[in-house]
Every structure is written in structure tokens, then in C-alpha cells.
Symmetry: C2
Subunit: 441 residues, 2 copies
């Protein structure tokens, strides 16, 4: 592989690190810097006019999505690649209400797998938190910003983007615009000869498609490299003859096994779902997300999505957004489609998601920190005693909804390793402990 092509492929590793279970191959070996040590302002990334060469984070030479550069990049994706707007419209934002509770900092929990009890406040640093919001009974009870993030800033949502795409799909299903039982090929004929063609829309939404797709980064022939090259918004290297863009790539994916039997976390399902949605509605995902959600929920900031070289928004992981705006998404999910006294979509949409997917199919994927859970319409359902469900993205991104405690937690983070299995032990029990604390108030 030529240097130029290799560089081009490396470009998207970061964004594609949202693919399940991946430990970022570019991260430093050994113990990483702490959250305080790796604070992007302290490290001086991109500061100065111009920044010193050793402080530059740029395309394509720099491994911009590796730790600790990652801690700057999560707030600055649009400065590195083309993007499209998720418009909030031009009306007045509708502010969220506050009832700050400073005692939350002292709430204690025991990390998964044992270990010493830890306070909520300590967990923020342990988890390399960039922004955290807790909403209880529709009011913000806790809100903090760290690292690169400010309240007027935006942060990568990573695979939480999938949950937005899944939500849009569920809305279309509830309206009868999209038939979840239809074969994908009947909606997107171009996918007929791919693995997706014979799958149902529901199987794509729940990621139970059987795909011949490898994400083994150590293997230079792995599919992830072809996908990365196709998805890159940068001009293709000279001599490149592979697929260009998400839609072309998806047509090349072959089937391996029987659809519907096992959950397999593959971002390309969401890209396929994005295509299905766009074909059905005549609108791209960024536009539809604005039209159906962002412009109606009282959002205070536009969001944005990365695009491929043909302008297709990255339905599987391209969203960046403000912390409180994802809080509004959490409120919509908590309150069955309502926010600010207005209904944005039917309650059945959230009921379908909360009910979860096939647990038996999910169990086959072997997620240790999510045992007993399932995946439905691109949302993770914990089936825990509070009925929690979540949008999740690598490096610690989450919108965690606890219907029993009437609580939403939104967290942006830049945890050194991509894998959420590494951050769940100091996160999931913390959410549970705060939920129980709030229920006692």
C-alpha cells in the first residue's frame, strides 16, 4: 500500500473507531496521561498563531484521533473535514430549567468488577469527562464542562449518531412511511445483490444482519480499510479504484450466515439505514434530523454531521452537538416524545425502543458489561431494574435514560481507549447510584 493511500486510510480511523469493541490502534502503549495531564489546553494543542509544529493537529499526517490529541479533536471535527449542518432553525431556544444539587458530587458507588467505592466527582476525572449533564424530573440538577468543551461548544457524538438515525427510522415506522418488515432490496434496489438486500429493515435497525465484514485492524485486507477509504471525505489518492462513498461501499458487502439470529455491532448497518430513510423521505439524514427533531425541540445550537465525498452524512457516527441539546434528546426519550409541552413523535416510538430487541441474539455478542441487555433501533437497552436504555459512542459518549428515576445523564468524554467496556465499570454503577440518590430526594 503506498504511503499516500495508507495516509488516506488512516484519516478516518478515528471517526470509524466507533465500530464496536475497538481499541484505538494509534493510542500510546502503557499508562496514558491522566485527565488533568492530558487536558488539551494544558498540552497546548493548536494554540498560537501559528501553533508550534509539535502542537499542530491536522490532516492527514497527524493521528488526530489518538490519545491525547483526541482530547482536542472531539470538539473540532469540522475544522478537519467537510460537514453539513443540522439546523436548529432561527427561532428562540427554549431554555432548560435548573435545580442544581451540589450533593451529587459526593454520591458514592462501587465500580463494576469490584474495587474501592468511588465518588461521582472522582469518576468524572477517571472517565476523562468533557461534559456531563444530569436531568431529573425535567430540570438540570448537575452540569460540568472540562477539557475542550464549553457550554457553547459541540462535541463528537460518535455512535450516539446511530441512535438518532434509529429514532428517525422508528418515527417513520410509526407513521407508516417505512415498513420495518420490508426487505431492504424492495426500498433500495441498489442493495439487492449485497448482504442487506435480503435483510428486513428491522434486522438492519436492530443490527441482526449477517454480514461478511471484518474490523480486524491488524489485517491489511480487513473490510474496515476498504470502508474507511470509501467513506473518507478527502479526495481519493491517485490510482484509487475502490468504492467512493457510503452508498457505493454498502453495495459490496456480502452476507455471512442467516439474518436475524445474532446481534453484530456493525456501523455499516446504520449507513444502510440512512440510505433507506433517505430513499423513503427524499431527505438526507442531517436535514431530516433537523426537520423532525432539532428545529422543534427548542435546541440552542445547530449540530453538524461529517459527510463523505459525495455529501452523504455519516449516519453511523458523524454527529457533533452541544451537551444540553443532547439533554433535550434525552428528555424526548424519557417523556415519550414530548418536550416543552409539545409532542414531536408518537409515544409508541419510545415504547418500541424501550421494550428492547432480542436478548438471545444480543447475548451471542458477549458484551460483559451489558449482560442481559439488548439492542433496539440503534439504542442499547439494559433491561436493568430501572428500565434504563442509552445511546452510546466510543470513548465514553452516552445519553443514558432512566425512566424509573426520571433521570437523563448525558456524557461527552475522550477516554483514551475506544472500547466502552473499559469505561462502563466506572460509569454504569455511577448512573445507578445517582438515580437512587435522586429518587430519595
Amino acid at each position: 500500500m503506498s504511503h499516500a493511500i495508507r495516509n488516506s486510510l488512516l484519516v478516518l480511523i478515528g471517526v470509524l473507531a466507533l465500530l464496536g469493541g475497538l481499541t484505538n490502534p494509534l493510542a500510546k502503549a502503557g499508562n496514558p496521561l491522566s485527565a488533568e495531564e492530558s487536558d488539551p489546553n494544558r498540552l497546548g494543542w493548536m494554540l498560537g498563531f501559528p501553533p508550534p509544529s509539535e502542537k499542530l493537529i491536522m490532516q492527514p499526517e497527524s493521528d488526530y484521533f489518538s490519545f491525547p490529541k483526541l482530547r482536542w479533536t472531539v470538539c473540532h471535527i469540522r475544522e478537519l473535514m467537510p460537514t453539513t449542518q443540522v439546523s436548529r432553525g432561527i427561532g428562540d431556544p427554549i431554555p432548560l430549567q435548573y435545580a442544581i444539587d451540589k450533593n451529587i458530587d459526593g454520591v458514592s458507588f462501587t465500580p463494576l468488577g469490584g474495587g474501592k467505592p468511588m465518588t461521582w466527582e472522582i469518576s468524572l476525572s477517571v472517565n476523562y469527562t468533557d461534559g456531563i449533564l444530569i436531568i431529573h424530573e425535567d430540570r438540570i440538577v448537575y452540569e460540568r464542562y472540562f477539557g475542550c468543551l464549553k457550554e457553547t461548544g459541540k462535541h463528537v457524538a460518535m455512535s450516539m449518531t446511530k441512535s438518532m438515525t434509529g429514532l428517525l427510522a422508528e418515527i417513520l415506522v410509526s407513521e407508516g412511511q417505512l415498513d420495518a418488515s420490508a426487505r431492504v432490496a424492495s426500498i433500495v434496489p441498489e442493495l439487492k445483490n449485497s448482504a442487506f438486500g435480503s435483510a428486513t429493515v428491522r434486522q438492519v435497525m436492530d443490527m441482526t444482519t449477517a454480514l461478511d465484514y471484518s474490523e480486524d485492524y491488524a489485517d491489511p485486507e480487513a473490510d474496515i480499510w476498504t470502508y474507511s477509504a470509501a467513506a473518507s471525505p478527502l479526495p481519493k489518492p491517485e490510482g484509487y479504484e475502490g468504492p467512493n462513498g457510503y452508498f457505493e461501499y454498502l453495495q459490496t458487502v456480502k452476507q455471512d450466515g442467516v439474518h436475524g439470529e445474532a446481534f453484530g455491532y456493525r456501523t455499516i448497518n446504520t449507513d444502510a439505514l440512512g440510505w433507506i430513510i433517505s430513499r423513503v423521505t427524499g431527505k438526507n439524514i442531517a436535514y431530516l434530523l433537523s426537520e423532525r427533531i432539532w428545529s422543534d425541540m427548542g435546541a440552542e445550537q445547530d449540530g453538524y454531521m461529517t459527510v463523505d465525498s459525495k455529501g452523504t452524512p455519516f449516519a453511523g457516527g458523524g454527529l457533533s452537538a452541544g451537551l444540553r441539546d443532547l439533554g433535550r434528546i434525552g428528555l424526548l426519550m424519557l417523556n415519550g416524545g414530548e418536550i416543552n409541552g409539545q409532542r414531536l413523535f408518537p409515544e409508541a416510538v419510545v415504547e418500541n425502543i424501550r421494550a428492547g430487541g432480542k436478548k438471545s441474539a444480543f447475548a451471542k455478542a458477549g458484551y460483559k458489561s451489558l449482560e442481559g441487555g439488548s439492542y433496539r433501533s440503534m439504542w442499547w437497552v439494559f433491561h436493568n431494574r430501572h428500565g434504563g436504555f442509552a445511546a452510546r459512542g466510543v470513548h465514553g459518549q452516552t445519553i443514558y435514560v432512566d425512566p424509573t428515576a426520571k433521570m437523563v445523564v448525558v456524557r461527552f468524554a475522550s477516554f483514551p481507549t475506544a472500547k466502552n467496556a473499559k469505561i462502563d465499570p466506572t460509569s454504569l454503577p455511577a448512573y445507578q447510584a445517582v438515580a437512587e440518590y435522586l429518587m430519595r430526594q
Copy 2:
């Protein structure tokens, strides 16, 4: 020049077409399509999932800033390259007031250089208008959108960006933060050995620097090619050894002649001014524009700016913004720094700009449609009987301020040729006629 390098250089021609007097070399020969015939929706650019290959506008193969593709691109720059936000903040927008006057459509004028009288309404199509706003006595009296633009959309400002940079510089001068009489080298030592080093800040602001800089597109050795390659936010082609980014390029510019004697419209002056401003304030131009103007003027949309590969905003031409937000800029200039009853900067800032630059220096540049005018702090001053002055960008962009008529006209356009000399004859007398009409009301 290799194909790859050539492609890479071509990439930025469009954005750099803001350089004075340039006729877009990529535009089709012969009579172009009319405004109606070239409407981007009618031509179907980028429509469909995916768009048909002949309807794609993408990097780098496609000459995306040539007519008629230009008519789509002017609203979609961020989908083609990295950008940074010009934040409006998260407060409520402050709506502009309306007093629509439908009779404006019938206002008639005689184009410069003679010809038949033309109505205002007809001129909109003749000028390939994408958006037009007329404000009179602080109220919107006329507002129309065409082509790719909607009221919630953004459009390239092209060289009107320069006027924002110049305005920021004037504000800093008025506050004593920036000494207009200082030599550039005393502020940015890196420019000591370049042409800029011995120039004063004022000479840079008024573009009376004497630069050895050629924009002859027919000459493969012209400086514009080196500048384009340096400025491109896309990864540099393999083997590229030239300057990378605006700041590196500026250091290579040599002097030719005596500073202060002649006006020479060179975008690199504005990039140098951007560097000066950033060095003085510790903030990049996009951030400062947000902090000083955008977040305080009741803006309804964020703006954004293109960046080079090191994240430097393109101070000379990178802004995209909403039509009414540029109307707010016009109001600030009309009302001496006040908007919504709030003062954003001292009245002296506007007084300095309105007074104009050296007419004798300006005359040497030979602008036929701007005879008797001058250039001050990156604003064009007409010295006409109404005291008009303007921000201007190629392909028809303008914020035209008429202090006598208390009128602001903002126009976004995608006129087939870059040169404003081609669109001025059906624009400047139209503004004057509408001003006179409004003064009679």
C-alpha cells in the same frame, strides 16, 4: 506539474477567485445560462441518494466554483472543505422589524454605460441574485431568496469577509489595542523579511502595500498558484514542498515598489491583517468575529469560515453567513456601531471607514465602475453624493450602505463571472434609484 498537484491547486481557485478583477477561468465560454436556466434546483445538482454521477459536485475533480455549478456551491462550501464556526452564542435572536414595500419591484434605473431602463425586479434575475435584503430606517422593506438560498441558509460572503476583518482591525485601533502606524514587523516578527514587514498596519488595512505578487492564471509560475497550494485545507500532494498555510505563505511575499503610493487589491493583505489581529488579541479571526460582533448583534444564525490545513480561518474570503445577519452588519455600519439599542463599537470606527482612503492611490488601480472611489480598512468607499460605502465580493456579493437614504442593501449572488465590473452596471445605479425612491416615501 503532475495531475495530482494540478488538481490540488485547482481546488481553491473558486474561493480565491475573490482576488481582484478575476474572470473565473473555469467558466464556460459563450453566453451562460440565464438565472432561471441555471437555478441549481432545476439543474438537479446533488439531488438524489446518491445523486447521478453527472450531478455530483465534489472535491477535487469537479470544478465546483465554475458556473453553473457555482450556483449550488455558494450555499454549500462547508460540505466541501473544513470550516470553523462563527458562533452567535445561545441567546435569543433579536428579530429585525418589517415594513415591506412591494413598489420597490417597479423602481426603474438606467444601467451604467447606458442601455434601456430596467426595473429593480428584472435586475434581480439579470444579476443572478440568490438573496437580497433592503433595510430602510432600520426596517426590512424588501427581502427575496432565489436559487440555492433560503432564509435559514448561508451563502459565501467571498471578499466581504475582508470587510469583517478590516472592521475588527478598526475596532482594535479605536481601542488602542492596535497601532495603525506601527510597522508590521514590530507586531509579527515572522513577517520581517517579507514585503509586509516594512509596511504599516494602515497600509495593509488599506491595501496600499507594494507587493511582488501576480494573479495571472495563465502563467503557471504565477504567485496565485503557490498561494492556492499553500492555502488549501486538503492534504498536500505527495512531494509537495511549498509553504503550508496562510502564515507560511505570507512570509515568502517580496516587495515591489514603495508602500503607500498605490492601491493594489490583493487578498494576501487581509490574510496578513488577520495574522496581525490574532497576534495582538490572541484569538483567531472567526473567534474574534463571534466575540465582538456575531454574539452581540442579535444574530439568528451562526456563520462559519473556511480554514487552512492548520486551522487558520481565511480572513480574506472564508466567511459564509445568513442574509439577514449581514443585514445586521449593515445596520451596525449605518448606525455607527449601534444595533438593538446597544453599542458594539465606537462611532469613530465607522467614521474612519466612511471617510475613505487615499483617492489618488485608488485611482491608479483603474476601476472603471468605481471612479472617484477609495478603499479604507477593507471597505469600498464610493464618495458618491449619498456617501455610500460597501463590502464587496466577487460574483456579486455586497453589503451596500447608503447613510443619506438610511438604507442598507445586502445581496448574495452567483453571477457567472467573478469580476464585479460586470455586475456593477446593473447594480450600483439600482441601489441609487431605490435609495432615491425610499427618500421620497
